[in-house]
């Protein structure tokens, strides 16, 4: 059964839903056309599958179009993606040529009709060439970390971005010097998705038993792919400083990195570091194991995210939403989500992580309070309904072209 707006009422409160309806009324008569590069797979498609039906339910005229492209095009945009996230190395001229040729093909295929054309990420970015043929407003939504882009790719893409009316970024430090207005809209999680919905105690217990994790002893968990930037070795070292005085278990859960040579290498290192310690569980879960990840988070006593670098850190959002005390590094978007000692604990080192684990295991009431605050922080700022509200406000801001105070 499709999820409806009213399904969120019990989670976020009536007034949030009422305010969404009110905002949507102010967009009456406007058409939004949203364009991205894929209908399935990936975070952008996932969020659009949720947001587009909810916007329609609110009465907003919205249509979703997807660009087409061959393997060479998507390889080109994958290299753009990596370069924009800071990967060094020059790209060949052919890559840019393929990108522009496919854009031209899509310009012929797509019918542009919206009052606001909302384009996601770099793949369809150059469609903005079309803007001079109509009166629509164009907005570019960047979902990726642009804090340290490789110059060649960014110099190529920036002139396209500057033809838009506005750009939208997920974090203040992802923004770039641009001639157009820039808005800040954080990502969100869906509290009704398999990854975040409530689960029965029985389901959680079955999951833990399946992986031979003892539900009676404290469980300390980090969920992330096996990657040096997530510092799984550091997590094991912190656990080893705790274990002599506290009877607890560590779970490191991540995807099976069969197609990622670096991931396989890191996994080997983690396996070597864990050795034969029966209190360290390494779980290889497929990326589709949303319910299992949910169960693991809900079954854990403490959740760690000891990243050395991080984008927004949605795994932290998910853990906070489950009311768990979270210990995480003060990097990237994590600092937006965790206010030290209020909604979680921020750390900078292995020693700091170990101390925080001991502190939380010794003081369950403090741990409970952090978890409670963290869940409330996510409820207020990082759920899908807030994302929906921000998009409605964005469309209103673009349509009305004002800043400061806007009377609706």
């Amino acid at each position: 059964m499709p999820i409806r707006l009213e399904d969120y009422t019990s989670i976020v409160g009536t007034y949030v839903i009422e305010e969404l309806r009110l905002l949507a009324e102010k967009l009456a008569g406007k058409t939004i056309q949203t364009i991205n590069s894929t209908a399935v797979g990936g975070g952008v498609a996932e969020i659009l599958h949720r947001l587009v039906p909810l916007l329609s339910e609110l009465g907003v005229q919205i249509r979703w179009d997807v660009i087409r492209g061959g393997t060479a095009f998507f390889e080109a945009t994958k290299s753009f993606h990596n370069s924009l996230q800071g990967e060094a190395g020059q790209l060949s001229e052919d890559i840019f040529k393929v990108f522009l040729e496919t854009t031209e093909q899509n310009l012929r295929l797509i019918e542009f009709y919206g009052d606001i054309i909302f384009v996601h990420d770099p793949q369809p970015i150059a469609l903005v060439k079309e803007r001079y043929k109509g009166h629509a407003h164009w907005v570019w939504r960047c979902h990726i970390d642009l804090s340290n882009p490789q110059a060649q790719v960014w110099d190529f893409l920036r002139p396209f971005v500057e033809q838009y009316d506005a750009a939208v970024f997920s974090s203040a430090n992802f923004a770039q010097p641009l001639k157009v207005k820039q808005y800040l809209i954080a990502p969100s999680i869906d509290p009704l998705s398999d990854k975040n919905k409530e689960l029965t105690q029985e389901f959680i217990r079955d999951f833990l038993e399946k992986y031979q994790i003892d539900p009676k002893r404290p469980i300390i968990t980090q969920i992330s792919r096996f990657d040096h930037f997530k510092d799984p070795i550091g997590v094991i070292k912190a656990f080893r400083q705790v274990r002599p005085n506290f009877d607890c278990q560590l779970v490191l859960a991540g995807g099976e990195a069969t197609d990622d040579p670096e991931g396989a290498q890191v996994l080997q290192e983690v396996q070597a570091e864990a050795g034969k310690d029966k209190d360290i569980h390494l779980l290889l879960l497929p990326p589709t194991a949303d319910l299992e990840i949910n169960a693991l988070q809900r079954g854990s006593t403490i959740i760690i995210q000891k990243s050395l670098r991080e984008g927004f850190g949605l795994t932290v959002t998910e853990a906070l939403w489950k009311g768990k005390p979270v210990i995480a590094s003060a990097v990237g978007g994590i600092t937006l989500q965790i206010k030290h000692n209020l909604t979680g604990i921020l750390v900078h080192s292995i020693e700091g992580t170990a101390y925080a684990i001991k502190n939380l295991l010794t003081n369950p009431e403090y741990a409970r309070k952090l978890g409670e605050n963290g869940r409330e922080h996510v409820r207020q700022h990082y759920l899908l309904t807030r994302h929906l509200k921000d998009y409605l406000l964005l469309f209103l801001a673009i349509d009305r072209g004002t800043d400061g105070i806007v009377y609706l």
Binding site: E19, L23, F169, N173, Q182, I185, A330, K339, L342, D390
Partner: protein
Amino acid sequence: MQPKWHAKEGFRFYSCLHLFELTGRKARNLKELVKHLREVDDSVIFNHTHNFLIRHHYLTPQPPSAFTHWVKESLKEEWLGEQLEGINTIEFTSLKDLREKTLSTIESYIKKNRRYRIAPEGEEFFFLRSLEFVFPTPYLATNIYEFVEALRVISPNSLYFHFFTARLRLGRGTNDFSHWIETSLGEKELADRIAQLDPYMYTLEELREVLIAMLEAEIDRVLRRKR
């Protein structure tokens, strides 16, 4: 029912929602903070001195303004952080004066200390402008009883609008509730007591409770006097 508690004019509750615009400005140290503080518009100043109220309205104790938080947490300038905390926002009726006070506090510290701590990478202060979208809610009070009932159910955003936006951002000099209670209900003494509250010391939910308690006490007091 006391006739004087019927309002000359009804009170329509408004609410507000915010969208954040990135200004492209960031500061890594106090000198840069001062430079941008001088140049940004009032929407930016209001955002960084008030956003915490909306953002953390369910937390106790409340984190301070964003400037104070950054100075203490990212620059580790504890003493200056305390001086900034000491700025009593409720004393200011214009953003211009609040900006000047913030600037003079930081500048006098810089003059005395002559050193610049640098914020770690990623912890720079990013200046954001808040776009505030204001809209009427269905709640209308034509007497003090309806006003109290509406106060129980309005969103925290509505409370924020009438108490903080109205007074400082819109430059009305006082909060909308005090204005209405004085001009439409003729209850000047009650209006003044509400205006004298320091709303920055409460979460929005606490503020709601304090206001309801004050209004109920007033109703009770007058009713007892009449008996």
